[in-house]
Every structure is written in C-alpha cells, then in structure tokens.
C-alpha cells in the first residue's frame, strides 16, 4: 500500500480520491492544534524561561517566525517540498517552482481523502514551527530584523528541501531510501534544533554568559507553554496519520505514554542528582518525550513508546545539563539540547522499535524484508543528510541575513537594557 505517496502527490491522483468528512474534520482540527503549538505553546514555553527584560522579544521572535514562516511556505515552500520536479535528479531534493503561490492548485482538489488546501495549511504549520524552535538558541542578543530575515530565507533554503527529501514522494532521495519519520523528528525537530545551535555559535554568547545569573521570568509560563505544546502535539502526531483512523489512535496513545515517561525521567534525574524535583525539569522532560516519540509515533508499540520517552529524556538531560557546560556554547533555551538530541535519538531508535507490521510501516528495508539493521542505516543516512543540509544551509542563511540587516547582533546598550524596551518599546509587566 503506497498510501503515503498517494497523499503526498495529489496532482497525479484523480479517480480514487474521494472526500471523507471524518478525515477532513480531523485534519482541520489537527491543523488548528499544531498552530496552537507555536504562537501559544512554544512562545509561552520560551517566554517564561527568558530573563524578564527579554520576554516580549522572545515571544515576538516565536510569533514572528510563525507568521513569516507560514507565508514563505505558501509563496515557495510548499512548491519546493511537495511539488514534483520533472528533472529526476533535481526531484531528489527539490520539488520545483510549479506551485509558487499555490499556482495550479484548486479549492476542489483532494489529497487522499481531504482537501489539498487543508494538507497545505497543515504542512505550513510544521514549516513555521521548525524555525520557531531555533529561536530559543539565540534569544536576548539577536536583532529582530535579522531574525525575521533568517526565518524567511530558512523556510526556502533549509526547510523546504529537507521536507521534500523525506516526505516528497517517489523520486525524493530519503523517501525512496525508505527513511521512517512519522511526524517530523528529523524534518522539524532535529532540523530546528541544529539550526538553533548553528545560529547560537555564529551570533555569539549573551553578555556575561555563563558567569552572571540569568534567571527565568516565570516557570509558570514555561510549564503552561509545555502543556499547550503537549495539547497541540495530538495534531502534530495524530494528524500525521492523515486521517481519522486507527494509526492516528496509535500515535495519540504512544505520544501520551512517551511524554509522561519523559517527564518522570527528567524529574527523577534531578531528584537524584540535585535533590530537587523542579517544575522546569518536569516541563523539559515533557518536551523531550514529545520530541523523541515524534518520528516513531505511528510505528511503535506500547513498550517502544516507554523506551523512546525515557531514553529521549536522559539524552536531552545530558545535553542540557552536561554537554552545554562542557562545550561552552550558549544555546540559551536549549533548542539544540532538547529538540536536536531527542529528535536524533527518536529517529535512530525508530529502526529498532518500529513494529514489524506491514499495515503501519512505510516502504523501506524493514517493511520489505524485516531488515532492522538495513533500516537503521537508512535512518543514519537520513539524519546525516538532514544534519549536513541544515548545517550548511543555516550558515548560508545567517550570513545573508546578517549582511542584509548590517550585522546580526544588537549593540551592547540594547542587550544591557533588554530587548523588550530597546527594540519594541514595551514592558512585560506594568504596575500601577
């Protein structure tokens, strides 16, 4: 059953595509759920962790990433990601420009069992959150103009080709190789997390890091943001079944198990190591669990989802608490530590934890011959290719954006006063 490519290539399928109202309803709800993750969930999650003088700037970076990222998706991203290039060599990485501004797609078009316009909107929310995730690495010192420029370029140069390689249908390189990425562990989380690290290194550390105390504005906002992200993730993972069906049901359950397991794991690690179970730790474990299950949500068993969440949380904890200190980069809100590392773990572990069930699996070595090692090598290939593309693409994007906006970093005075006041002329809390 080449169920997935059928959905991905709406242009070439006519006769058998019939609109199903249940699927359509679920995909529209899922779209709204994934939308909620960015301007509410991620924005609160990050905003709460930022110093009080930079909260509104952080929130604006996330919301700004969504609105710009989404429109870039409509202008060119969708065409590059899900278009079909007539040149079969280019089709490996690049869907072409046939659908710029959604040219050639009509409101009556059906993608599988629901309108193509719903598919486009749903996928647009993924494109937008991927770069919004990266903002967490560079808060408190990047110029807002540079950030917005980065978002616009990144959607076209980095995200769209990666989405094409993995999800772009027949002829797309990693799709043909048989990489398993159910809802975007590599495409969204590894990609966004690594982009964050690259930008953090290029723009430099915040003044005073790590010597002065940089306390979060309010852990309450962060915890609430994590809850909203979790809520929205039912659309992210459940919606990636592309229908109101049993696979969506599996994804919803595995997502909840892995997330709870991730949260408990982080809490216990802190309790043992620091003698304190912190709420920020529980919220961080929630995100690590969510990210780890994302590439595997519709493929794994109940036991597999426990393993994904627990180990995903351990890996992210290591990245945030130890690796960051050791390597001395200022990944301010740990976009890399959590999204890249837990996403990487999930992508690789999927090869071993996916159930050998032909009805669930996508085409690849595991489905073809039960070859888990072969599947693992495909997963490795996919994380290496996605990683390299992100790395090089993000460096290019950074330097173009930095050139266009005459320097990526705010001046010392702005950084000292705080970006809320200096850039936006707003304050997070006014008394009296």
């Amino acid at each position: 059953m080449k169920f997935f490519s059928l959905l991905m290539l709406p242009m070439f399928v006519f006769g058998e595509d019939v609109l199903n109202t249940g699927d359509t309803a679920w995909m529209m709800i899922s779209t709204a759920l994934v939308l909620l993750m960015t301007p509410a969930g991620l924005a609160m999650f990050y905003g709460g962790m930022t110093r009080s003088k930079n909260v509104l700037n952080t929130y604006a970076m996330v919301v700004g990433a969504f609105v710009v990222g989404f429109l870039v998706w409509i202008v060119a991203g969708y065409s590059i990601a899900f278009g079909v290039n007539e040149n079969s060599i280019l089709q490996n990485v690049f869907g072409g420009f046939n659908h710029l501004f959604l040219d050639g797609i009509k409101w009556t078009d059906i993608s599988g069992s629901y309108p193509t316009y719903v598919f486009i909107t749903f996928q647009g929310t993924f494109a937008a959150i991927a770069i919004a995730i990266a903002s967490g690495s560079v808060i408190g010192r990047m110029k807002f103009s540079t950030w917005i420029t980065i978002v616009a370029l990144w959607g076209v140069i980095v995200y769209a080709p990666i989405a094409h390689m993995v999800w772009g249908g027949t002829g797309a390189y990693l799709f043909d190789a048989g990489a398993l990425d159910f809802a975007g562990g590599t495409v969204v989380h590894m990609n966004g997390g690594l982009a964050g690290l690259v930008l953090a290194i290029l723009v430099g550390k915040r003044a005073g890091y790590p010597h002065i105390a940089m306390k979060p504005f309010s852990i309450l906002f962060t915890a609430f943001g994590a809850a909203l992200l979790w809520f929205g993730w039912y659309g992210f993972n459940g919606g990636s079944a592309f229908g109101a069906n049993a696979i969506a049901g599996l994804a919803v359950l595995t997502t909840t198990i892995a997330t709870s397991a991730g949260a408990i794991t982080w809490m216990l690690l802190e309790w043992v190591i620091y003698k304190r179970p912190t709420l920020l730790g529980i919220a961080s474990g929630i995100i690590a669990g969510l990210v780890a299950i994302t590439p595997a949500a519709g493929f794994v068993s109940i036991g597999g989802s426990f393993v994904l969440g627990i180990v995903g949380s351990v890996v992210a904890f290591y990245g945030v608490v130890y690796m960051k200190k050791k390597l001395r980069y200022d990944d301010s809100l740990d976009a890399f530590g959590i999204h890249f590392l837990a996403g990487l773990w999930g992508a690789l572990a999927t090869a071993f934890l996916a159930i050998d069930d032909k009805e669930l699996l996508w085409d690849g070595p595991l489905k073809a011959s039960g070859d888990r090692l072969g599947q693992f090598f495909v997963q490795v290939e996919s994380v290496v290719i996605v990683g390299l593309w992100t790395l090089v693409g993000t460096v290019v994007v950074y330097y173009i954006a930095s050139f266009v906006t005459t320097g990526a970093r705010v001046d010392d005075e702005t950084e000292d006063i705080g970006l809320d006041k200096a850039i936006h002329a707003e304050k997070v809390l006014n008394q009296g």
Binding site: K215, I273, Y274, G281, K325
Partner: protein, 113 residues
C-alpha cells in the same frame, strides 16, 4: 521611649501582627527588604544551573513604644511568633528614642504615641 526594629521571615508577618495587636501595641511600620546574614543567601536551580541568590526577601517591622514594659511585650510577641527554629528567622534590635512628635496635633513624646 523605645524603638523595636525586627527583621523577620515574610510568612511570619500575619501572626506577629496579630500578637502585637493582642499586646495592645497600636501601630507598626512594615517594609519589604532584602538582605543576608550568616545564612549567606540561598540558591535556585534551573536546568542544572545553580544560581546563588545573595539577597533573601525579608520583612522589616518598626514599632515605637512608650516604656520598657511595652517594649518587653513587643519583643516577646515577635520572638514567639516569628520563630521557626530554622536558619534565617531574623533579628530584633532595640533603640532609645530621643523625641516623638505627632504632626497633626504637635503633641510630643508619650502623648504622641
């Protein structure tokens, strides 16, 4: 006339205030203050990063009473009700007051209290 100044834990303020009212002490001034003593602050933990909080939030109470008897009552009330037995319960300072004037009526010293 004596002035009693006490630095206490913020959550002890309510019970200290109630005890002072019971002891017929009619007025007090309260301020939110920060500082440290032998405790040398506390620390906070965020994702494994431990930050030393140098100054801990405290409440400062100021009371002026007319004689030693009232001063002792106030000290007893504060001592009993601000005590948790743990580090950081605070301190009480007692001063002599040279003069008191009520601004509205020009009354002075004991009459002004």
């Amino acid at each position: 006339m004596k002035k009693i100044e006490a630095i206490i834990k913020p959550h002890k303020l309510e019970s200290v205030k109630d005890a002072l009212i019971k002891a017929n002490i009619e007025g007090m001034t309260v301020s939110e203050v920060k500082g440290y003593g032998r405790q040398q602050g506390q620390s906070e933990l965020y994702r494994g990063a431990e930050y030393k909080v140098e100054f801990v939030s405290k409440i400062k109470i100021e009371i002026v009473v007319s004689n030693n008897q009232f001063a002792q009552k106030a000290i007893d009330a504060i001592k009993t009700h601000a005590k948790s037995g743990k580090i950081g319960d605070g301190k009480i300072f007692v001063y002599d007051i040279a003069k008191t004037i009520r601004i509205r009526t020009d009354e002075e010293d004991e009459d002004a209290l």
